[in-house]
Subunit: 360 residues, 2 copies
């Protein structure tokens, strides 16, 4: 140890002074620029001209809990709305360890090489605890993050899935107005987050890996049925034959499910985000889906249904939030829950008591 | 044609006169008895002493839309509650044509032969249109309906699944107080009715038939994952080998699903409701489940969770019903739905407008 004052390996060394070569005036200007809050109209104009910094700022407004920010955020969303809706929205899920970040990096780079503009968002309600566990560490996608035609944004934080999902759903509108034609929504699959993501995308991709029996594990209930494609990642080196076997198994399993409303038959494919083998196949599958779903109008119908779903979902969430957070209801609910569990009162009689109290 | 007045085969012949051998006094007494409405206390006492006629009458009260009946029904339910909760509740689903009635008849008769008291209820929201499509025709279970230790009740009618499900859930309480130790809830699987039934039973049975590829059809999304057992019916005659093949296929598919919270590994079995082959195996599977689930306390925990679920579900349903049936909301919702679908307003902004209007 050079510095004798630092006894412990954990102690900090002295801070580095501001290098003299940086002009104070320039530093002040930068600070000034950062501090200046553009108006809603300015933000809309900048977003629609493809300005990624304005896009970031507007998403920050959406994520803010400050009431003034919310009003402004709503103005921006409303202003961007006419320019949205022109993209393909792809949901990607998979348990930790399947290599989601590496896959999205490889897949995203492939898309930008095809001339596409790719925005990557995330829905991860757990990030409020872990401070953004997915996409939080942008260095995991260091190629994509440097790409002029890519925009990466970690999951909004929030205590409820509903809140996080709403913020992501609104961010999609802004990304599309900003000219991003391919929106990727990543989710880790905490609880119901896959369902939320499924209801905001056109195409749902389940990422898996092959391995000693683990193709049978980690599939949340209902997820496999939601998938439009199952992609078996890490199909490289010694894994190739295992991945092929997994592909056969999943193909067999998918055939046991009922036909999809879209008319689409889910596809299973293998790829390696490392060797890039099979990455283009994933895009070919999505392209084939889009061609089919746009031709049979399912694509357009589903988008309208999804918009309506989110309106109703927001209403239903709010109705519940207001009821369950009502100061009179909280203690009454607790006592009735216990009574119901102990079979002292029927669930329906208990519900009646609570409702009468609420509406009186 | 004997009667020349009736030109068409569809016309009616003259009605039959009252036979003279029936005494007018006796007929009047019967009518009098039928007209007399027992009090809530009388009904509770009769039900708890095992009176099936009182049970029927109380369920009719539950199903009534008359407000006075509802108050009385709630009294009866409350009075029966301490004597309920002592049974096994089995949900049975399967698409039309799998032989649900024949299976329940054979299975129910087998259970009563083992000394059990069997109540068969149904959840079929479509019955309000078809006037009770399942269990409506009791002659389809003519052996079971004559059985002293069996009670069969067709589905309540109602315009919403929520309403029908609530009525069935309450009827379970009365059946249990009446001494029925095995409650079978049948559903045809219209929309979400399986989910509703799943959340009111201890064990969920999916009935299937084998056949040229049809083991792959008619499985509603998510149903296979709910099943604690898949029973392949009609495994008789030429069908036996096909049924065995289907068993293998389903076993393979079930292994692809994640482990159940109960710790139970779903079983696939074959049976014939005609030859009675395999009917006891179904009961053995259920018994094994019960032994396991009671030992690991999952059974008890699940029942408490289900009671709480129904309380919250009833509240949530009511909150929505009140909102969506509000005279000011109906036209406003319609116009906002259109605006959202046409991308004129964001789903969240539209929701906000509606909620502000409702709470102002």
């Amino acid at each position: 140890m050079e510095d004798k004052k630092n006894k412990s390996a954990l102690s900090e060394i002295n801070g580095v002074n501001q290098p003299e070569s940086i002009s104070n005036t320039v530093a002040k200007n930068i600070q000034q620029f950062r501090r200046k809050q553009p108006s809603a109209t300015e933000l809309i104009d900048s977003i629609c001209s493809g300005d990624k910094i304005a896009l970031s700022r507007a998403i920050t407004l959406i994520e803010s809990t400050n009431v003034n920010h919310l009003t402004k955020a709503n103005e921006v969303i409303q202003g961007c709305l006419p320019f949205a809706n022109k993209s393909v929205r792809i949901g990607i899920t998979g348990v930790p360890g399947v290599g989601k970040s590496t896959f999205i990096e490889a897949f995203g780079k492939h898309l930008t090489s095809l001339g596409k503009k790719v925005a990557v968002l995330a829905v991860d309600p757990s990030s409020s605890i872990s401070n953004g566990s997915i996409l939080g560490d942008k260095t995991r996608m260091e190629e994509l993050v440097k790409d002029e035609n890519a925009f990466i944004r970690p999951s909004a934080s929030g205590d409820s899935l509903g809140g996080v999902a709403r913020k992501t759903r609104e961010s999609i509108i802004l990304c599309e107005a900003c000219g991003f034609d391919t929106i990727i929504i990543e989710t880790v699959g905490v609880g119901q987050s896959e369902t939320a993501v499924h209801s905001m995308v056109d195409f749902f991709l389940l990422l898996k890996i092959a391995g000693a029996g683990d193709e049978l594990q980690g599939i949340k209930r209902g997820i496999m049925e939601m998938a439009d494609t199952i992609v078996i990642n890490k199909a490289d080196g010694d894994n190739i034959s295992k991945a092929k076997l997994a592909k056969t198994e999943f193909n067999r399993a998918l055939h046991l499910f009922p036909a999809k409303k879209s008319g689409w038959v889910p596809k299973v494919t293998t790829c390696s985000a490392i060797t890039k083998e099979g990455i283009d196949d994933v895009w070919q599958i999505i392209s084939a889906y889009l061609e089919m779903a746009k031709a049979n109008v399912y694509f357009q119908v589903k988008r309208k249904e999804q918009s309506q779903f989110w309106m109703l979902e927001t209403i239903n969430e709010q109705l519940k939030t207001r009821f369950y957070s009502h100061p009179d209801i909280i203690p009454l609910l607790e006592s009735n829950k216990k009574a119901v569990q102990n079979n002292v009162i029927s669930p329906f009689a208990a519900a009646q008591i609570l409702l009468e109290h609420y509406y009186k």
